[in-house]
Symmetry: C2
Subunit: 244 residues, 2 copies
């Protein structure tokens, strides 16, 4: 049973303090050999190298030359460790290109977060489910909403746009992570072709689409394509609001 399900309010409070408050260092007893940042970085390194499943309290502790149980002096449990890892991996939001309009800013924002997801594929499964956002995560959200301030969109819509772009970046990063690294050329089409073989009459439209895509052997532009459609749709709304 995952503690995230049954843990309840106490765990959530612990996580909040861990993410949002810098602990006032106590002045008694031996100095800690580790810091939260150390632990988070060690976890990220392991996850980057061998995936999220390889992030074990045991292994994180070994990479820090400490016993497994020592980690529990810093982190209440594994869920909180992963939360810290996410904050570390996502990092601080990048500065928007100076003097850019809302569209360029959002385009930049989406590409940056897409890049983070691709550099840390484990963060995609790690960020599903009910979660408490950390300061860095909130910082990214701030940048996205700030980009749209003054466009005439409503408050809720600003948040909706951020969620929309984030979902797209996540989805595409996941698709990239799903394609094996040994087929650099036709990522997605190759996997589908095998599945569709002999079943063309069941999936005629997909078959046609895959064949057409393979024939034009265009590079994988799914992220750019979706991003352009989304921004087009937002631009349409901005224009409409401006006129009214």
């Amino acid at each position: 049973m995952d503690r995230a399900d049954a843990g309840g309010r106490a765990d959530k409070r612990k996580l909040y303090e861990l993410l949002w408050e810098t602990p006032g260092t106590p002045r008694r007893g031996p100095r800690p050999t580790l810091t939260l940042a150390d632990i988070a970085r060690a976890g990220v390194a392991i996850a980057d190298a061998d995936g999220l499943a390889a992030v074990t309290m045991q292994r994180v502790a070994e990479s820090l030359d400490v016993t497994k149980m020592a980690l529990y002096r810093y982190v209440p449990g594994k869920a909180e460790l992963v939360a810290l890892m996410i904050e570390t991996a996502i990092g601080e939001p990048p500065a928007p290109p100076p003097g850019a309009g809302w569209r360029e800013q959002l385009d930049h924002w989406a590409r940056q977060i897409y890049d983070r997801f691709r550099r840390h594929p484990w963060s995609i499964p790690a960020t599903v489910g009910p979660r408490l956002p950390g300061p860095n995560e909130m910082g990214w959200l701030e940048r996205a909403t700030a980009a749209l301030t003054g466009t005439g969109l409503r408050g809720a819509e600003l948040l909706d746009v951020a969620v929309l772009l984030l979902g797209h970046a996540r989805g595409l990063a996941q698709q990239d992570a799903a394609t094996p690294a040994d087929a650099p050329g036709q990522h997605r089409e190759a996997a589908f072709t095998v599945l569709l073989r002999g079943r063309e009459e069941h999936f005629p439209a997909v078959t046609a689409a895959v064949r057409s895509a393979a024939a034009h052997n265009a590079p994988d532009q799914a992220f750019d394509f979706g991003l352009a459609r989304i921004l087009d749709g937002i631009a349409l709304l901005v224009e409409r609001r401006k006129r009214s």
Copy 2:
């Protein structure tokens, strides 16, 4: 260590047979007491009730009045069981509304898949990472691409559109699942308000957006909003292709 990481080719082949081939029933030995569909349904029921973490070989077996190890006669491992559960939960794709244009079809498609994700929140974390799509999943993709056939979009773009819509439905369903069920009114804003309190100067744009959203106490329309933007953006492209 998760077998999905290190398992390699043999596991993938097993999973393919499991998802795509109806096994020729052997005629020797005692008749099986279970079917794959039984097991998948039992797993779905447990996941719907208590979450994905509650789906244990032990518990699935108990709910079927069988020993844990009996399940391994049907399913190579837990990863494959979850894959079967996903196929069962997603189900066959719905028939498109007759006589509808591409936009209505895609709108319907997105709402339907959004609904599936919301009815089975566990399927969101279950469908991350490298996966082999099953027949039902491919069926959904078929419907989406079929809706756009004849619009002048390229083959790769049809697939991109499906990925885009799927990502949106996933993202929003996840956000819904993250909001506690005891706050029916202002879902998202309530959680943010607590985090932003006392930090308004750090996140001015988010603060303003959240306050504005809370003031207009509009119902949660994030899914509708994003879907409309996406379809607007696609419509723009379709128009452009039609003219050229």
